[in-house]
Every structure is written in C-alpha cells, then in structure tokens.
Symmetry: C2
Subunit: 378 residues, 2 copies
C-alpha cells in the first residue's frame, strides 16, 4: 500500500549524531531556565520534559524549542510576558469530586502539566476517571510526553490544549482562526509491547515549522496542507499564509474541540491568543490545557474471551490488528520506542551537529561550555 | 478555498420528499421491533433514535438501517443472534465512583446507549465527569444522537464504539483489521447557536455504503479511500476490498483508539467481531460502547474575559472562529440543525420516494399499510 500523503514522523536519515550525556543536557537546560528566573522545581520539570522528548527522538519539541518558546512567547516576550517565573497555581474551589479547575497564572507549562496529569491519575485511582482543566496556561511543549508518562504509570491518558497561535483555517474558510491544536492519547501497553501506545499529533496537515523546512529544501508541500493570503490552496511553501486541518472536515472538527474545551475553561478568542499587541484591556490571551486519566480497571467489565486477563486481551487485540499480513504496520509510539532504545544503547541523548551547535549557543549564554569534540559519536 | 476531498455530509439535492408524520413513523418502527420480540421499552427507545436521526436528516442511520441491522447482525442472525430481545443489562459491581462497567448481554443497542448516556450525565452531576463502559453490546445505530441528546441537556458528551465489521486497513498494512470505528462529541451550545455542536464521523475516509453508491453511479472513489484485494490503493469502486482510514496515520490512530478502549472493556479480536462463523468456542464477537459526560461547570476556572459568563465566552470564541471572512464555514451539527428546521416546518419526517418504499415494505411485514398517495409532499 502506497501512501501519497505525508506519513508519520519517520526516523531521521542515517547522519552522524553526537551523544550528549543526560546529566550534561539536564544541567544545561536547567541552568538556562534558572537564569531566566524560574525556580529550581520549575526548571527541573521543564528539563524533564525536554529530556523525555529527546530520549524518544522528538526533534520538534526538545530543549532548543522549549527555550525558544520561552524567549519568544514566554518570560522573554515584551510587553506582557506569556510565562511568569515562580507563579503559583491557584486551585479553584469546586463542587465536583473527580474534576479540578486550575488557574495557572501563566506558570511554566511543563511544571503545570506534570502536576496536572499526576492529579488526574490520583483522581482516577479513586473515581475511575479524573480531569484537570487549566486556565491562563503557557505552552506545555510536548503533550505526548505527559500521556506517555501517565501510560507508563498504568493509566489511559489524554490531553489537549490550544496551540499558541491561530494558524489554521477552518474547513471551508479562508482566514486562520484555529490553533494547530494537538490531541494526545496514551495507553498503558508497556507490559505487552514494551512501550506505551502514544497517539500524538497536531490537527493541521503539517506544522508551520515543516513549511520553513520545505522552503529551505526547495520542495513542494503535500496537497491540502496550506493556503495563500487569498485563502486559495497552495503547494508552494513560499506562498503559505496559513495551514489547513488534516482530513478536511474531520480534522477541522478535532481542531474545534480544543477551542471549545478552551472556551468552557476560560480561554478567549483564538485570534488574540499570544498576541498582546492585538488584545485590548480586559482580554485574555493565554492557551488552556485539559488533562484526563482513566484507570484501566474502570473500563473493564471483567469478562474476557478464553479467560484472558485484561492485559492479555489487549495483547490479543493488537496481535489481530498487526496480523493477517499487516506486519509492516507500525503502532503509534513505536518509532519513539525504537529511538529510545538507541538512546539507551548510547547512554545519552542523540543530537545532530546542527542541534549541538544550538546547545552550544545556549551554553554560551549561561557560561557552560559544550565541547562537541569531546562528545561521543553515534 | 476549494477542497478536492469529500466534504462533510451535504444537504440532499432538491428532490421530491414525502412527509411521514412522526406518530406514523414511530408506530411503524415500534411495531416492527415488537414483532421481532423486543419489549415495549426497548422498541420505544430504538424508535426514539431512528426518529432523531431522520428528524436531523441522517439518511445513513434511520429506521430502515436499524431494522436491516437487526435482521442481518441482530436478532435475525442465524446461528448466534447478535442481539437478544428482552436481555437485561448487568451492572458490574466496581470500586470506582464516577465509572460504571456494564455487561449488556447483547441487549438492543439504542436502549443500552440512552441509559448509559443518562447514567454518565448523572455521574457528571456529582463528580464533574462520568464514564460508562459497555461490554457485549450490539449496534447503537447513530452515536451522534446520544451526544446530541446529552448536549441538549447541557453536557459535553462523547462516545466511541467498535463498528460491527473489520473493514479498515491499518496505516501501512493491507488487510482490514479495524472497524470504521466512529467517534462522536457533543457540546451544549443550544443557548448560543440554537443547536448543539455535534462532531460525529467514522474513521474511514468513506463508508462501505458509499462505495456501493459509487458503483451504482459509475463514479470513481476519492483518492486514499480504499484498497483492492492485494492491498493496493484503488479508486475503482468495483475493486474495493477494504477501506482506508481518513488522514493517513492520524485517522489510523483514531480507529485504533476504539479498538483499544474495546480491548480494555472486554471486546476481542476485531476480525472475529460479528463473525460467528469464524469465532471458535470461548470467543467473544460483540462490539463495545464507551460513553462520557462532562458537566461544563467542571471545566470552568471561573475567569472569562470582559466578565463574560461561560456561555457568552463560548459564543465569543465561536464568533471569532467564524469571523474574519470565514462566514461560509459551517459548524459540525449545523447541517443537521438546518434539516431539523425543515422537519419542524413540515411537521414530520422527510423521506424520498425510495425511502417511503422501504417503509412500505416494513409496514407490509407487520400489517401496517403506508399509503404514499396520502402523504403530504415537501
């Protein structure tokens, strides 16, 4: 079966990579956050997310991206920083036992997200399902990381958020009024597959970062992925003004879900999000987060074929899906797991020369030297 | 903006329709279910779902389809009927307060689904969120109906289920091992829009019923929608052996979600589902359902821009999405709402001549005459 559209993230081509030891990476990222004024705890949790992303081969959401986000939209944004070092989460008193509502007061996204997902898991332990909604959020970098972490701890986890900027045109429209609004689901399949199934993607056909990559490489975009300034579909990356949802009206619906959750939580107009220069007094410009955890026992009706356990049943279903000649199929999360094995084998985080150059720049800002010549090569 | 792929359900072309009064439709469908052995309560709830579907213009999931499903996969299937008239739901005792697990013992799907969604709403009233998982289910006809009903009652609702047959090839594979596995979300926007937003679709690019329609009409399929018996992509509807997920790996992930929920609930191998002739002793062949309701107050952090209420905030977000020249965009659920207005205007359910002929056949089975010449025309 040939697929003409862009497939999922594929492994990087076999180019030379450096092995950055985890301790060295973490010291660097933590120091960079500390220098920006974040507390030790915030910086440690921010670093944990970056480490997990790079360990699993997520090139688009690593420490380089995290610090760039903080500079452009976070504590570095002037006027009106989108992220406030040391901010405290306000837990709004509510009448619901399995649902919490938080005002993050623009606290660092990764720190908020780890705590929110932990809270959702605790609620799920008691109630079967738990949800945490977060208003006045910043950016949580990599949604897949939180559901992967929760899935490793045994839960069926889900998160969505509103992306920073409205870059996506609703189906049938011409102006970008939706974020690239991602959805992330994790399933606790470590015992059966060796890794959690993690379904994690944005609701645009491609990311804006990918468009820049196509410009650099002189390539045409895949069909149905972007529009020019007049709202006409284009495959010329130089003409791209806004992105299209994946899967026509279906992806549009999925992008809309994040905006609606956000609207119920407390988020305001998508086109004002992260755009303080456009927002008047009394406006709100922050993204929102939503987290959910389900205890797998809370789904089980306790009656599996052939007297299987729940885990054996999940294994049987996966075997059936990948059987019948479908052995070339991949499961979502498999590429990440394969990359993580390479990370483990080399006992460190694998970065390209260009990435190491970025880390070197970050190091220079804070007086930590990264000497590429001293790093092992993978 | 021109879209080359299949868009959402479009209004039927302006052909002559008959107005079947709701009472007459309901008497017919209820009698047909009663004749098959279903209880009065089951038959009434089955009819309610059919009525709602036709009222909202859902041509693919109406009373004709419901009775056909019962004949082919339900109480009429020999051997091993997939649906058992008068079966009782067994509520499995569990330790979780906001989650229930039911064994439907193959009870009629619509009756189970209405009760499950009601239960999820009651749980949401107390806990903020409630979930109900259903094992040994039949077919619930139209998932959009249950979330629409819950959204009209004020909840953010969600359901997924495993579709009867494995007709969809996983991304990168060649053999169908996934159902067309739908997802349905409803949002309580009646106060703001006049109708609930309902996002409701299968995870295949097209439905198998659509393929038959293309054969009849001598048309080619849209790209990336189906494969032939060798697993190669085809646009010739005569060569279709199996369907493809929408949106490549993203739609594949969404189809997989339903199979995984099912696996945790109690569903078995997808390729055995609804295929008693393939399933050995000790196997399970029924679909599963999952329902979730969230009380909108359980999402609210209570802090909306410009002192808006939550509802005003939702309105503001929707206005922004459909603003900026996007006035030609539609919201999911809008077409259904427009059809419902036509139904209300004509004070009945609107059916084509071919559909009325089907109802006439159903009537003949049970001794109820439908005289098309006596029906008003719309």
């Amino acid at each position: 079966m040939q697929i003409e559209t862009l497939g999922p993230r594929t492994p990087e081509p076999a180019i030379m990579e450096y092995v950055l030891p985890v301790a060295q990476h973490n010291a660097l990222i933590t120091a960079a956050y500390r220098k920006r004024g974040y507390t030790q705890e915030e910086s440690t949790l921010a670093t944990k997310c970056c480490q997990m992303a790079s360990w699993n081969g997520i090139k688009t959401h690593n420490g380089i991206k995290a610090l760039h986000l903080d500079d452009s939209l976070g504590s570095g944004r002037r006027p009106d920083p989108g992220c406030v070092p040391g901010a405290a989460i306000e837990k709004i008193p509510g009448r619901f036992k399995a649902a919490q509502q938080w005002n993050a007061h623009r606290k660092l996204g990764q720190a908020v997200a780890f705590e929110a997902m932990e809270t959702a898991m605790k609620l799920a332990d008691e109630f079967g399902v738990g949800i945490v909604s977060v208003d006045n959020a910043f950016h949580y970098l990599w949604g897949g990381g939180y559901v992967m972490d929760a899935a490793r701890k045994g839960y069926i986890a889900y998160t969505n958020c509103t992306a920073a900027l409205a870059e996506v045109v609703p189906f049938g429209g011409k102006y970008p009024t939706l974020g690239t609004n991602p959805h992330s689901w994790g399933f606790p399949t470590v015992d059966t597959l060796g890794y959690p199934i993690v379904i994690d993607w944005a609701t645009s056909t491609i990311a804006m970062g990918r468009v820049q990559q196509f410009v650099r490489e002189g390539k045409q975009l895949p069909p149905q992925s972007a529009v020019d300034k007049d709202g006409n579909i284009t495959t010329d990356p130089n003409k791209v003004y806004a992105l299209l949802p994946f899967g026509a009206h279906k992806g549009y619906g999925m992008a809309l879900i994040d905006e609606l959750y956000s609207a119920y939580i407390g988020g305001s107009a998508p086109t004002l999000r992260c755009r303080p220069e456009l927002a008047g007094k009394g406006e709100k410009i922050c993204p929102t987060f939503f987290f959910q955890a389900i205890h797998p026992d809370a789904l089980s009706a306790g009656h599996f074929a052939h007297g299987r356990t729940q885990k054996q049943n999940v294994q049987g279903v996966i075997d059936d899906i990948l059987g019948h000649g479908n052995d070339k199929c991949m499961l979502p999360g498999q590429l990440e797991a394969e990359f993580a094995k390479r990370s483990a084998k080399h006992d460190g985080l694998l970065f390209t020369e260009a990435e190491i150059a970025e880390f070197t720049k970050i190091g220079a800002e804070i007086g930590i030297a990264i000497d590429a010549t001293k790093l092992e090569k993978a």
